[in-house]
Protein backbone atom coordinates (compact mmCIF):
# COMPACT_ATOMS: atom_id res chain seq x y z
CA UNK A 1 0.00 0.00 0.00
CA UNK A 2 1.24 3.49 -0.81
CA UNK A 3 0.13 6.35 1.39
CA UNK A 4 0.75 10.03 0.79
CA UNK A 5 0.46 12.37 3.77
CA UNK A 6 0.20 16.11 3.14
CA UNK A 7 1.74 18.13 5.94
CA UNK A 8 2.31 21.81 6.64
CA UNK A 9 4.80 23.72 8.74
CA UNK A 10 2.78 26.25 10.72
CA UNK A 11 3.51 28.89 13.34
CA UNK A 12 3.03 27.55 16.87
CA UNK A 13 -0.06 29.40 18.02
CA UNK A 14 0.30 28.10 21.59
CA UNK A 15 2.49 31.04 22.55
CA UNK A 16 -0.05 33.51 21.08
CA UNK A 17 -0.50 34.72 17.53
CA UNK A 18 1.51 37.68 16.25
CA UNK A 19 0.32 39.80 13.33
CA UNK A 20 2.10 42.19 10.97
CA UNK A 21 0.67 45.74 10.76
CA UNK A 22 -1.05 44.76 7.48
CA UNK A 23 -3.03 41.99 9.21
CA UNK A 24 -1.03 39.03 7.86
CA UNK A 25 0.70 36.59 10.22
CA UNK A 26 4.14 37.58 11.45
CA UNK A 27 5.63 34.13 10.77
CA UNK A 28 9.19 35.19 11.54
CA UNK A 29 8.24 36.07 15.12
CA UNK A 30 6.73 32.67 15.85
CA UNK A 31 8.24 29.21 16.31
CA UNK A 32 7.15 26.61 13.79
CA UNK A 33 5.66 23.15 14.31
CA UNK A 34 4.06 20.40 12.25
CA UNK A 35 0.37 21.27 11.97
CA UNK A 36 -1.37 19.16 14.69
CA UNK A 37 -4.11 17.72 12.43
CA UNK A 38 -1.45 16.79 9.85
CA UNK A 39 0.63 15.13 12.57
CA UNK A 40 -2.39 13.01 13.52
CA UNK A 41 -2.79 12.17 9.82
CA UNK A 42 0.84 11.12 9.67
CA UNK A 43 0.43 9.01 12.81
CA UNK A 44 -2.62 7.34 11.26
CA UNK A 45 -0.56 6.52 8.17
CA UNK A 46 2.29 5.16 10.28
CA UNK A 47 -0.13 2.95 12.22
CA UNK A 48 -1.48 1.58 8.93
CA UNK A 49 2.14 0.99 7.93
CA UNK A 50 2.78 -0.88 11.21
CA UNK A 51 -0.38 -2.97 10.82
CA UNK A 52 -0.66 -3.64 7.09
CA UNK A 53 2.73 -2.61 5.72
CA UNK A 54 2.88 0.55 3.61
CA UNK A 55 5.21 3.07 2.07
CA UNK A 56 4.53 6.49 3.55
CA UNK A 57 5.50 9.58 1.56
CA UNK A 58 5.14 13.02 3.11
CA UNK A 59 4.70 16.06 0.92
CA UNK A 60 4.66 19.75 1.75
CA UNK A 61 4.57 23.04 -0.08
CA UNK A 62 6.46 25.94 1.41
CA UNK A 63 9.69 27.85 1.72
CA UNK A 64 12.95 25.84 1.60
CA UNK A 65 12.86 25.96 5.43
CA UNK A 66 9.80 23.66 5.33
CA UNK A 67 12.26 20.84 4.70
CA UNK A 68 12.52 20.66 8.52
CA UNK A 69 8.96 19.42 8.88
CA UNK A 70 9.62 16.66 6.32
CA UNK A 71 12.68 15.55 8.29
CA UNK A 72 10.59 15.51 11.45
CA UNK A 73 8.08 13.24 9.66
CA UNK A 74 10.88 10.94 8.50
CA UNK A 75 12.25 10.85 12.08
CA UNK A 76 8.79 9.65 13.14
CA UNK A 77 8.86 6.86 10.54
CA UNK A 78 7.86 8.22 7.12
CA UNK A 79 9.84 6.74 4.22
CA UNK A 80 10.18 9.63 1.78
CA UNK A 81 9.83 13.40 1.77
CA UNK A 82 8.91 15.73 -1.09
CA UNK A 83 9.24 19.51 -0.83
CA UNK A 84 7.39 21.60 -3.39
CA UNK A 85 8.98 25.02 -3.42
CA UNK A 86 9.14 27.74 -6.04
CA UNK A 87 8.90 31.52 -5.98
CA UNK A 88 5.94 31.42 -8.38
CA UNK A 89 3.99 29.36 -5.83
CA UNK A 90 4.24 32.03 -3.09
CA UNK A 91 1.15 33.77 -1.73
CA UNK A 92 -1.10 30.80 -2.54
CA UNK A 93 -4.57 30.58 -1.00
CA UNK A 94 -6.34 27.24 -0.49
CA UNK A 95 -7.29 26.98 -4.17
CA UNK A 96 -3.77 27.54 -5.47
CA UNK A 97 -2.31 25.34 -2.74
CA UNK A 98 -4.57 22.42 -3.52
CA UNK A 99 -3.83 22.84 -7.24
CA UNK A 100 -0.10 22.74 -6.47
CA UNK A 101 -0.29 19.68 -4.23
CA UNK A 102 -2.56 17.87 -6.70
CA UNK A 103 -0.11 18.71 -9.49
CA UNK A 104 2.70 17.15 -7.45
CA UNK A 105 0.68 14.09 -6.46
CA UNK A 106 -0.16 13.35 -10.11
CA UNK A 107 3.49 12.24 -10.42
CA UNK A 108 3.06 9.63 -7.70
CA UNK A 109 1.37 6.28 -7.22
CA UNK A 110 -0.95 6.08 -4.23
CA UNK A 111 -3.76 4.15 -2.60
CA UNK A 112 -4.53 6.62 0.11
CA UNK A 113 -3.95 10.33 0.66
CA UNK A 114 -4.24 11.69 4.18
CA UNK A 115 -4.33 15.39 5.00
CA UNK A 116 -5.07 17.18 8.24
CA UNK A 117 -8.56 18.59 8.64
CA UNK A 118 -7.24 22.14 8.77
CA UNK A 119 -4.10 24.10 9.57
CA UNK A 120 -3.94 26.14 12.77
CA UNK A 121 -2.69 29.21 10.89
CA UNK A 122 -5.63 29.49 8.49
CA UNK A 123 -8.34 27.19 9.85
CA UNK A 124 -10.09 26.85 6.50
CA UNK A 125 -10.34 23.03 6.22
CA UNK A 126 -10.49 23.44 2.43
CA UNK A 127 -7.21 22.13 1.02
CA UNK A 128 -7.81 18.41 1.65
CA UNK A 129 -11.25 18.19 0.00
CA UNK A 130 -10.06 20.42 -2.87
CA UNK A 131 -7.13 18.08 -3.60
CA UNK A 132 -9.57 15.17 -3.86
CA UNK A 133 -11.71 17.18 -6.32
CA UNK A 134 -8.69 17.99 -8.52
CA UNK A 135 -7.64 14.33 -8.51
CA UNK A 136 -11.18 13.02 -9.00
CA UNK A 137 -11.16 10.70 -6.00
CA UNK A 138 -13.58 10.35 -3.05
CA UNK A 139 -12.97 12.27 0.19
CA UNK A 140 -13.94 11.43 3.75
CA UNK A 141 -13.37 14.38 6.03
CA UNK A 142 -13.04 14.67 9.84
CA UNK A 143 -11.79 11.11 10.32
CA UNK A 144 -11.64 9.98 13.93
CA UNK A 145 -10.86 6.32 13.16
CA UNK A 146 -9.48 4.58 10.06
CA UNK A 147 -9.46 0.89 9.16
CA UNK A 148 -8.50 -0.95 5.99
CA UNK A 149 -10.91 -3.54 4.59
CA UNK A 150 -9.51 -5.17 1.45
CA UNK A 151 -9.35 -2.47 -1.22
CA UNK A 152 -11.52 -0.09 0.83
CA UNK A 153 -11.20 2.10 3.90
CA UNK A 154 -13.73 2.25 6.69
CA UNK A 155 -13.71 5.60 8.39
CA UNK A 156 -15.57 7.10 11.32
CA UNK A 157 -16.43 10.68 10.36
CA UNK A 158 -16.90 12.93 13.36
CA UNK A 159 -19.83 15.26 13.87
CA UNK A 160 -20.56 17.54 16.81
CA UNK A 161 -22.78 14.99 18.54
CA UNK A 162 -22.33 11.70 16.64
CA UNK A 163 -20.20 10.01 14.02
CA UNK A 164 -20.92 8.39 10.68
CA UNK A 165 -19.25 5.19 9.51
CA UNK A 166 -18.32 5.45 5.85
CA UNK A 167 -16.70 3.01 3.48
CA UNK A 168 -14.84 4.13 0.37
CA UNK A 169 -12.85 2.33 -2.27
CA UNK A 170 -9.23 3.29 -2.58
CA UNK A 171 -7.72 5.43 -3.92
CA UNK A 172 -9.36 8.05 -1.78
CA UNK A 173 -8.52 11.00 0.46
CA UNK A 174 -9.10 11.29 4.18
CA UNK A 175 -8.84 14.41 6.30
CA UNK A 176 -7.72 13.68 9.85
CA UNK A 177 -8.57 15.29 13.17
CA UNK A 178 -5.93 15.85 15.84
CA UNK A 179 -8.20 13.83 18.17
CA UNK A 180 -7.67 10.82 15.88
CA UNK A 181 -4.68 9.62 17.86
CA UNK A 182 -1.70 10.57 20.00
CA UNK A 183 1.17 11.01 17.52
CA UNK A 184 4.32 9.07 18.35
CA UNK A 185 7.54 10.76 19.35
CA UNK A 186 10.56 10.79 17.09
CA UNK A 187 13.53 8.69 18.20
CA UNK A 188 17.02 10.19 18.69
CA UNK A 189 18.53 7.86 16.08
CA UNK A 190 15.60 8.54 13.74
CA UNK A 191 16.39 12.26 13.84
CA UNK A 192 20.00 11.75 12.79
CA UNK A 193 18.93 9.33 10.03
CA UNK A 194 16.29 11.82 8.84
CA UNK A 195 18.99 14.44 8.33
CA UNK A 196 20.92 11.96 6.17
CA UNK A 197 17.85 11.15 4.06
CA UNK A 198 17.42 12.68 0.60
CA UNK A 199 14.51 15.07 0.28
CA UNK A 200 13.04 15.35 -3.22
CA UNK A 201 12.63 19.00 -4.18
CA UNK A 202 10.15 19.91 -6.89
CA UNK A 203 9.44 23.29 -8.50
CA UNK A 204 6.77 24.61 -10.89
CA UNK A 205 8.17 22.56 -13.77
CA UNK A 206 7.53 19.32 -11.86
CA UNK A 207 3.81 19.94 -11.36
CA UNK A 208 1.64 17.91 -13.70
CA UNK A 209 -1.49 19.17 -15.49
CA UNK A 210 -1.77 22.49 -13.66
CA UNK A 211 -2.34 25.86 -15.30
CA UNK A 212 -0.15 28.82 -14.32
CA UNK A 213 -3.33 30.78 -13.76
CA UNK A 214 -4.15 28.46 -10.85
CA UNK A 215 -0.86 28.91 -9.02
CA UNK A 216 0.65 31.32 -6.50
CA UNK A 217 -0.71 34.71 -5.61
CA UNK A 218 -2.04 35.29 -9.14
CA UNK A 219 -3.97 32.04 -9.05
CA UNK A 220 -5.52 32.80 -5.66
CA UNK A 221 -9.09 34.10 -5.80
CA UNK A 222 -9.26 34.66 -2.02
CA UNK A 223 -9.17 38.26 -0.81
CA UNK A 224 -8.31 38.71 2.87
CA UNK A 225 -10.40 41.52 4.30
CA UNK A 226 -9.35 41.02 7.91
CA UNK A 227 -7.53 38.39 9.98
CA UNK A 228 -8.16 37.73 13.63
CA UNK A 229 -7.32 35.20 16.32
CA UNK A 230 -9.69 32.24 16.59
CA UNK A 231 -12.86 32.96 18.56
CA UNK A 232 -14.76 30.37 20.51
CA UNK A 233 -18.10 29.18 19.14
CA UNK A 234 -19.93 30.38 22.23
CA UNK A 235 -19.46 31.09 25.90
CA UNK A 236 -21.24 27.84 26.82
CA UNK A 237 -23.79 27.64 29.58
CA UNK A 238 -22.91 28.46 33.15
CA UNK A 239 -25.02 27.13 36.00
CA UNK A 240 -24.57 27.41 39.73
CA UNK A 241 -25.86 24.34 41.52
CA UNK A 242 -24.74 22.17 44.40
CA UNK A 243 -22.89 18.89 43.68
CA UNK A 244 -25.89 16.56 43.51
CA UNK A 245 -27.96 18.93 41.41
CA UNK A 246 -24.99 19.46 39.10
CA UNK A 247 -24.67 15.73 38.47
CA UNK A 248 -28.39 15.45 37.69
CA UNK A 249 -28.22 18.44 35.41
CA UNK A 250 -25.21 17.14 33.48
CA UNK A 251 -26.78 13.69 33.14
CA UNK A 252 -30.02 15.20 31.82
CA UNK A 253 -28.06 17.22 29.26
CA UNK A 254 -26.10 14.16 28.14
CA UNK A 255 -29.37 12.24 27.74
CA UNK A 256 -30.87 15.11 25.79
CA UNK A 257 -27.95 14.87 23.34
CA UNK A 258 -28.18 11.07 23.22
CA UNK A 259 -24.63 10.76 24.53
CA UNK A 260 -25.86 8.35 27.18
Amino acid sequence: MKIIVCIKQVPDTKGGVKFNPDGTLDRAAMLTIMNPDDKAGLEAALRLKDEYGAEVTVITMGLPKAEEVLREAIAMGADKGILVTDRVLGGADTWATSQTIAGAIRNLEYDLIITGRQAIDGDTAQVGPQISEHLGIPVISYAQNIKIDGDSVIVERQFDDRYHVLKAKMPCLITALSELNEPRYMTPGGIFDAYKADITVWGRADLKDVLDSNLGLKGSPTQIAKASDKVRKGAGEKVTLDTEESVDYIVSKLKEKFVI
Binding site: E68, R71, E72, A75, Y185, M186, T187, P188, G189, I191, F192, A194, Y195
Partner: protein
Protein backbone atom coordinates in the same frame (compact mmCIF):
# COMPACT_ATOMS: atom_id res chain seq x y z
CA UNK B 1 34.72 28.32 16.49
CA UNK B 2 30.98 27.80 16.27
CA UNK B 3 28.75 27.61 19.32
CA UNK B 4 25.53 26.84 17.45
CA UNK B 5 24.03 23.38 17.63
CA UNK B 6 23.44 21.42 14.44
CA UNK B 7 19.84 21.07 13.22
CA UNK B 8 19.90 17.42 14.25
CA UNK B 9 20.89 18.34 17.78
CA UNK B 10 18.26 21.09 17.89
CA UNK B 11 15.58 18.62 16.81
CA UNK B 12 16.81 16.03 19.32
CA UNK B 13 16.59 18.66 22.04
CA UNK B 14 13.03 19.50 21.04
CA UNK B 15 12.19 15.79 21.30
CA UNK B 16 13.71 15.47 24.79
CA UNK B 17 12.06 18.71 25.90
CA UNK B 18 8.63 17.68 24.67
CA UNK B 19 8.94 14.26 26.28
CA UNK B 20 10.13 15.76 29.58
CA UNK B 21 7.30 18.30 29.68
CA UNK B 22 4.54 15.86 28.72
CA UNK B 23 5.62 12.60 30.32
CA UNK B 24 8.08 13.35 33.12
CA UNK B 25 7.11 16.68 34.66
CA UNK B 26 3.56 15.67 35.66
CA UNK B 27 4.96 12.81 37.76
CA UNK B 28 8.03 14.50 39.26
CA UNK B 29 6.45 15.66 42.50
CA UNK B 30 4.74 12.33 43.18
CA UNK B 31 7.89 10.34 42.36
CA UNK B 32 9.74 12.42 44.96
CA UNK B 33 7.00 12.43 47.57
CA UNK B 34 6.35 8.69 47.44
CA UNK B 35 9.96 7.66 46.70
CA UNK B 36 8.68 5.57 43.81
CA UNK B 37 10.84 4.45 40.91
CA UNK B 38 9.13 5.86 37.78
CA UNK B 39 8.74 2.53 35.95
CA UNK B 40 6.03 3.86 33.60
CA UNK B 41 8.33 6.63 32.40
CA UNK B 42 11.25 4.23 32.10
CA UNK B 43 9.19 1.95 29.85
CA UNK B 44 8.18 4.90 27.67
CA UNK B 45 11.80 6.05 27.39
CA UNK B 46 12.86 2.51 26.50
CA UNK B 47 10.47 2.44 23.52
CA UNK B 48 11.95 5.68 22.22
CA UNK B 49 15.54 4.47 22.50
CA UNK B 50 16.56 6.86 25.31
CA UNK B 51 18.52 4.05 26.99
CA UNK B 52 20.81 3.49 24.04
CA UNK B 53 21.50 6.99 22.68
CA UNK B 54 25.31 6.75 22.31
CA UNK B 55 25.34 2.98 21.68
CA UNK B 56 26.17 2.04 18.06
CA UNK B 57 23.29 0.75 15.94
CA UNK B 58 25.03 -2.61 15.46
CA UNK B 59 24.39 -3.22 19.16
CA UNK B 60 20.78 -2.06 19.04
CA UNK B 61 21.47 1.54 20.06
CA UNK B 62 20.53 4.85 18.49
CA UNK B 63 24.02 5.52 17.15
CA UNK B 64 24.05 9.15 18.28
CA UNK B 65 26.93 11.08 19.81
CA UNK B 66 27.64 11.83 23.48
CA UNK B 67 26.31 15.38 23.13
CA UNK B 68 22.86 14.04 22.20
CA UNK B 69 22.94 11.79 25.26
CA UNK B 70 24.03 14.70 27.47
CA UNK B 71 21.14 16.82 26.16
CA UNK B 72 18.72 14.01 26.95
CA UNK B 73 19.88 13.83 30.58
CA UNK B 74 19.84 17.65 30.75
CA UNK B 75 16.27 18.02 29.52
CA UNK B 76 14.94 15.18 31.71
CA UNK B 77 16.70 16.66 34.75
CA UNK B 78 15.19 20.09 34.14
CA UNK B 79 11.92 18.64 35.33
CA UNK B 80 12.99 15.57 37.35
CA UNK B 81 16.47 14.82 38.71
CA UNK B 82 15.47 11.23 39.45
CA UNK B 83 14.63 10.46 35.82
CA UNK B 84 17.87 12.08 34.66
CA UNK B 85 20.08 9.91 36.84
CA UNK B 86 18.30 6.69 35.85
CA UNK B 87 19.33 7.26 32.23
CA UNK B 88 22.78 8.52 33.21
CA UNK B 89 23.76 5.61 35.48
CA UNK B 90 22.43 3.06 33.00
CA UNK B 91 24.18 4.56 29.97
CA UNK B 92 27.46 5.85 31.35
CA UNK B 93 28.14 3.35 34.12
CA UNK B 94 26.87 0.08 32.68
CA UNK B 95 26.57 0.28 28.88
CA UNK B 96 29.73 2.31 28.36
CA UNK B 97 32.20 -0.03 30.16
CA UNK B 98 30.70 -3.06 28.39
CA UNK B 99 31.00 -1.23 25.06
CA UNK B 100 34.55 -0.06 25.80
CA UNK B 101 36.05 -3.08 27.56
CA UNK B 102 33.71 -5.98 26.72
CA UNK B 103 34.55 -8.84 24.39
CA UNK B 104 32.50 -9.13 21.20
CA UNK B 105 30.50 -11.94 22.85
CA UNK B 106 29.76 -9.79 25.90
CA UNK B 107 28.71 -6.85 23.72
CA UNK B 108 26.41 -9.06 21.64
CA UNK B 109 24.97 -10.67 24.72
CA UNK B 110 24.28 -7.61 26.86
CA UNK B 111 24.20 -4.41 24.80
CA UNK B 112 21.12 -4.90 22.57
CA UNK B 113 18.76 -5.48 25.52
CA UNK B 114 20.40 -2.64 27.49
CA UNK B 115 20.32 -0.22 24.54
CA UNK B 116 16.64 -0.96 23.94
CA UNK B 117 15.90 -0.48 27.62
CA UNK B 118 14.54 -4.01 27.93
CA UNK B 119 17.13 -4.37 30.66
CA UNK B 120 18.38 -1.68 32.99
CA UNK B 121 22.01 -1.31 33.99
CA UNK B 122 23.85 -0.39 37.20
CA UNK B 123 27.41 -0.07 38.49
CA UNK B 124 28.81 -1.30 41.80
CA UNK B 125 32.10 0.20 42.94
CA UNK B 126 31.29 1.98 46.21
CA UNK B 127 31.41 0.04 49.48
CA UNK B 128 30.87 1.16 53.06
CA UNK B 129 34.65 1.53 53.46
CA UNK B 130 35.49 2.42 49.85
CA UNK B 131 34.06 5.61 48.47
CA UNK B 132 36.53 8.13 47.11
CA UNK B 133 39.28 5.64 48.03
CA UNK B 134 38.46 2.84 45.60
CA UNK B 135 41.45 0.88 46.91
CA UNK B 136 39.49 0.25 50.11
CA UNK B 137 37.48 -2.48 48.35
CA UNK B 138 36.61 -5.53 50.45
CA UNK B 139 34.45 -7.46 47.98
CA UNK B 140 36.45 -10.45 46.75
CA UNK B 141 36.26 -12.62 43.67
CA UNK B 142 38.00 -16.00 43.75
CA UNK B 143 38.36 -18.24 40.72
CA UNK B 144 37.01 -21.72 41.26
CA UNK B 145 37.08 -23.84 38.12
CA UNK B 146 35.08 -22.03 35.45
CA UNK B 147 33.46 -19.64 37.90
CA UNK B 148 34.36 -16.70 40.07
CA UNK B 149 32.91 -16.72 43.57
CA UNK B 150 31.91 -13.23 44.72
CA UNK B 151 31.67 -12.30 48.39
CA UNK B 152 31.07 -8.84 49.82
CA UNK B 153 28.70 -5.92 49.48
CA UNK B 154 28.27 -2.67 47.60
CA UNK B 155 26.36 0.39 48.78
CA UNK B 156 24.61 3.49 47.40
CA UNK B 157 24.02 1.72 44.07
CA UNK B 158 21.88 3.77 41.66
CA UNK B 159 19.19 1.77 39.82
CA UNK B 160 20.00 -0.78 42.58
CA UNK B 161 17.00 -3.06 42.77
CA UNK B 162 15.49 -2.08 39.41
CA UNK B 163 18.49 -3.03 37.27
CA UNK B 164 19.06 -6.34 35.51
CA UNK B 165 22.74 -6.09 34.56
CA UNK B 166 25.46 -4.89 36.96
CA UNK B 167 29.10 -4.02 36.43
CA UNK B 168 30.69 -5.03 39.74
CA UNK B 169 34.22 -4.46 41.00
CA UNK B 170 36.00 -6.91 43.30
CA UNK B 171 39.48 -7.69 44.61
CA UNK B 172 41.04 -10.60 42.73
CA UNK B 173 44.49 -10.60 44.35
CA UNK B 174 47.43 -8.36 45.22
CA UNK B 175 50.07 -6.72 43.05
CA UNK B 176 53.26 -4.85 43.87
CA UNK B 177 53.46 -1.29 42.61
CA UNK B 178 56.55 0.79 43.36
CA UNK B 179 57.47 -1.59 46.14
CA UNK B 180 54.01 -1.33 47.76
CA UNK B 181 51.47 -4.09 47.94
CA UNK B 182 48.27 -3.02 46.26
CA UNK B 183 44.94 -4.71 45.79
CA UNK B 184 44.34 -6.08 42.34
CA UNK B 185 40.82 -5.07 41.29
CA UNK B 186 38.84 -6.63 38.44
CA UNK B 187 35.46 -5.88 36.90
CA UNK B 188 32.65 -8.38 36.33
CA UNK B 189 29.25 -8.45 34.68
CA UNK B 190 26.67 -9.82 37.11
CA UNK B 191 23.07 -10.56 36.24
CA UNK B 192 20.12 -10.11 38.55
CA UNK B 193 18.81 -13.44 39.76
CA UNK B 194 22.23 -15.06 40.06
CA UNK B 195 22.11 -17.24 43.20
CA UNK B 196 23.93 -15.55 46.07
CA UNK B 197 23.18 -12.03 44.77
CA UNK B 198 20.64 -10.20 46.92
CA UNK B 199 19.60 -6.71 47.94
CA UNK B 200 20.11 -5.07 51.30
CA UNK B 201 18.62 -1.87 52.61
CA UNK B 202 17.07 0.83 50.47
CA UNK B 203 18.65 4.19 51.17
CA UNK B 204 16.38 6.96 52.44
CA UNK B 205 17.78 9.95 50.63
CA UNK B 206 17.54 13.75 50.78
CA UNK B 207 16.96 14.08 47.04
CA UNK B 208 16.54 12.08 43.81
CA UNK B 209 14.14 10.12 45.97
CA UNK B 210 12.55 8.13 43.15
CA UNK B 211 15.93 6.70 42.20
CA UNK B 212 16.33 3.13 43.46
CA UNK B 213 19.42 3.30 45.69
CA UNK B 214 20.25 -0.03 47.28
CA UNK B 215 22.90 -2.10 48.96
CA UNK B 216 23.97 -5.12 46.89
CA UNK B 217 25.03 -8.25 48.76
CA UNK B 218 27.10 -11.11 47.32
CA UNK B 219 27.26 -14.33 49.30
CA UNK B 220 29.13 -17.13 47.54
CA UNK B 221 27.69 -15.72 44.33
CA UNK B 222 29.06 -17.81 41.46
CA UNK B 223 29.40 -16.11 38.11
CA UNK B 224 30.78 -17.61 34.89
CA UNK B 225 34.45 -16.94 34.19
CA UNK B 226 33.55 -15.34 30.88
CA UNK B 227 31.77 -12.54 32.76
CA UNK B 228 35.12 -11.00 33.66
CA UNK B 229 35.00 -7.55 32.04
CA UNK B 230 38.29 -6.49 30.51
CA UNK B 231 41.46 -8.19 31.68
CA UNK B 232 42.12 -9.55 35.14
CA UNK B 233 43.44 -6.71 37.27
CA UNK B 234 42.16 -4.02 34.88
CA UNK B 235 39.33 -3.07 37.24
CA UNK B 236 40.76 0.18 38.58
CA UNK B 237 41.43 1.43 35.06
CA UNK B 238 37.92 0.42 33.96
CA UNK B 239 36.39 2.16 36.98
CA UNK B 240 38.29 5.40 36.42
CA UNK B 241 37.58 5.42 32.69
CA UNK B 242 33.91 4.72 33.33
CA UNK B 243 33.65 7.48 35.92
CA UNK B 244 35.18 9.99 33.48
CA UNK B 245 32.21 9.32 31.21
CA UNK B 246 29.77 9.12 34.12
CA UNK B 247 30.80 12.59 35.22
CA UNK B 248 29.56 13.98 31.91
CA UNK B 249 26.18 12.37 32.61
CA UNK B 250 26.02 13.77 36.14
CA UNK B 251 27.25 17.15 34.93
CA UNK B 252 24.34 17.11 32.47
CA UNK B 253 21.96 16.20 35.28
CA UNK B 254 23.29 19.06 37.43
CA UNK B 255 23.04 21.46 34.48
CA UNK B 256 19.45 20.42 33.89
CA UNK B 257 18.50 20.87 37.55
CA UNK B 258 20.01 24.37 37.53
CA UNK B 259 18.27 25.36 34.31
CA UNK B 260 14.98 23.93 35.52
CA UNK B 261 15.21 25.99 38.72
CA UNK B 262 16.04 29.12 36.73
CA UNK B 263 13.10 28.66 34.35
CA UNK B 264 10.69 28.01 37.22
CA UNK B 265 11.96 31.07 39.07
CA UNK B 266 11.63 33.36 36.04
CA UNK B 267 7.95 32.41 35.80
CA UNK B 268 7.42 32.87 39.52
CA UNK B 269 9.00 36.32 39.92
CA UNK B 270 6.85 37.68 37.12
CA UNK B 271 3.71 36.61 38.96
CA UNK B 272 4.61 37.15 42.62
CA UNK B 273 3.61 40.62 43.79
CA UNK B 274 5.02 42.51 46.77
CA UNK B 275 4.71 46.23 47.53
CA UNK B 276 2.27 46.53 44.64
CA UNK B 277 4.46 45.17 41.86
CA UNK B 278 5.91 41.93 40.54
CA UNK B 279 9.11 41.05 42.33
CA UNK B 280 10.78 40.82 38.90
CA UNK B 281 10.67 44.63 38.95
CA UNK B 282 13.16 44.75 41.83
CA UNK B 283 16.79 45.10 40.96
CA UNK B 284 17.85 42.43 43.47
CA UNK B 285 15.68 39.89 41.64
CA UNK B 286 17.05 40.98 38.29
CA UNK B 287 20.67 40.73 39.42
CA UNK B 288 20.13 37.32 41.02
CA UNK B 289 18.54 36.03 37.80
CA UNK B 290 21.40 37.45 35.73
CA UNK B 291 23.96 35.62 37.88
CA UNK B 292 21.97 32.38 37.76
CA UNK B 293 21.58 32.51 33.98
CA UNK B 294 25.26 33.34 33.42
CA UNK B 295 26.37 30.39 35.53
CA UNK B 296 23.93 28.06 33.77
CA UNK B 297 25.32 29.17 30.42
CA UNK B 298 28.92 28.68 31.57
CA UNK B 299 28.06 25.23 32.93
CA UNK B 300 26.36 24.31 29.66
CA UNK B 301 29.44 25.25 27.65
CA UNK B 302 31.68 23.13 29.90
CA UNK B 303 29.28 20.17 29.78
CA UNK B 304 28.88 20.29 26.00
CA UNK B 305 32.65 20.67 25.56
CA UNK B 306 33.24 17.59 27.72
CA UNK B 307 30.56 15.65 25.79
CA UNK B 308 32.20 16.59 22.49
CA UNK B 309 35.61 15.63 23.92
CA UNK B 310 34.33 12.15 24.80
CA UNK B 311 33.22 11.69 21.20
CA UNK B 312 36.48 12.93 19.69
CA UNK B 313 39.31 12.48 22.20
CA UNK B 314 40.90 9.46 23.83
CA UNK B 315 41.39 11.19 27.17
CA UNK B 316 38.85 13.67 28.52
CA UNK B 317 39.27 13.34 32.30
CA UNK B 318 39.96 17.02 32.87
CA UNK B 319 37.10 18.23 30.67
CA UNK B 320 34.73 15.84 32.45
CA UNK B 321 36.00 16.84 35.91
CA UNK B 322 35.68 20.57 35.17
CA UNK B 323 32.18 20.11 33.73
CA UNK B 324 31.00 18.10 36.71
CA UNK B 325 32.62 20.35 39.30
CA UNK B 326 31.21 23.53 37.82
CA UNK B 327 27.79 22.20 36.88
CA UNK B 328 27.27 20.60 40.30
CA UNK B 329 28.26 23.73 42.21
CA UNK B 330 26.13 25.80 39.85
CA UNK B 331 23.16 23.50 40.47
CA UNK B 332 23.54 23.95 44.24
CA UNK B 333 23.97 27.73 44.00
CA UNK B 334 21.20 28.31 41.47
CA UNK B 335 18.65 26.12 43.27
CA UNK B 336 19.48 27.81 46.59
CA UNK B 337 18.91 31.21 45.01
CA UNK B 338 15.73 29.91 43.40
CA UNK B 339 14.36 28.88 46.80
CA UNK B 340 15.35 32.27 48.22
CA UNK B 341 13.55 34.13 45.43
CA UNK B 342 10.45 32.01 46.06
CA UNK B 343 10.56 33.06 49.73
CA UNK B 344 8.45 30.99 52.14
CA UNK B 345 6.69 29.21 49.28
CA UNK B 346 10.03 27.94 48.00
CA UNK B 347 10.59 26.17 51.30
CA UNK B 348 7.39 24.15 50.90
CA UNK B 349 7.09 20.87 49.03
CA UNK B 350 4.29 22.41 46.94
CA UNK B 351 6.89 24.19 44.84
CA UNK B 352 9.32 22.43 42.51
CA UNK B 353 12.35 24.46 43.57
CA UNK B 354 12.33 22.82 47.01
CA UNK B 355 12.79 19.41 45.37
CA UNK B 356 15.34 20.79 42.92
CA UNK B 357 17.51 22.12 45.76
CA UNK B 358 17.50 18.69 47.44
CA UNK B 359 18.20 16.95 44.11
CA UNK B 360 21.08 19.32 43.35
CA UNK B 361 23.11 18.39 46.43
CA UNK B 362 23.90 14.83 45.33
CA UNK B 363 25.55 16.07 42.14
CA UNK B 364 28.36 17.50 44.30
CA UNK B 365 28.85 14.08 45.87
CA UNK B 366 28.29 11.06 43.63
CA UNK B 367 30.51 9.86 40.79
CA UNK B 368 33.38 11.72 42.40
CA UNK B 369 32.87 14.51 44.93
CA UNK B 370 33.69 18.08 44.01
CA UNK B 371 36.91 17.61 45.97
CA UNK B 372 37.87 14.64 43.78
CA UNK B 373 37.19 16.71 40.66
CA UNK B 374 39.55 19.37 42.01
CA UNK B 375 42.18 16.65 42.59
CA UNK B 376 41.82 15.43 39.00
CA UNK B 377 42.04 18.96 37.59
CA UNK B 378 45.02 20.06 39.70
CA UNK B 379 46.90 16.77 39.21
CA UNK B 380 46.81 17.53 35.50
CA UNK B 381 48.07 21.08 36.09
CA UNK B 382 50.98 19.98 38.28
CA UNK B 383 52.10 16.85 36.47
Amino acid sequence: MDFTLSKEHEMARSLFKEFAEKEVKPLAQEVDETETFPRVTVDKMAKLGFFGIPIPKEYGGQGCDVLTYAMCVEELSKVCGTTGVIVSAHTSLCCDPILTFGTEEQKQKYLPALAKGEKLGAFGLTEPGAGTDAQGQQTKAVLDGDEYILNGSKCFITNGKEADVYVIFAVTGTVEKRGRKMKEISAFIVEKGTPGFSFGTKEKKMGIRGSSTYELIFTDCRIPKENLLGKLGQGFKIAMHTLDGGRIGIASQALGIAEGALETTIEYVKERKQFGRAISAFQNTQFQLADMATKCQAAQLLVYKAAMAKSTQKVYSVEAAMAKLYAAETAMEVTTKAVQLHGGYGYTREYDVERMMRDAKITEIYEGTSEVQRMVISANLLK
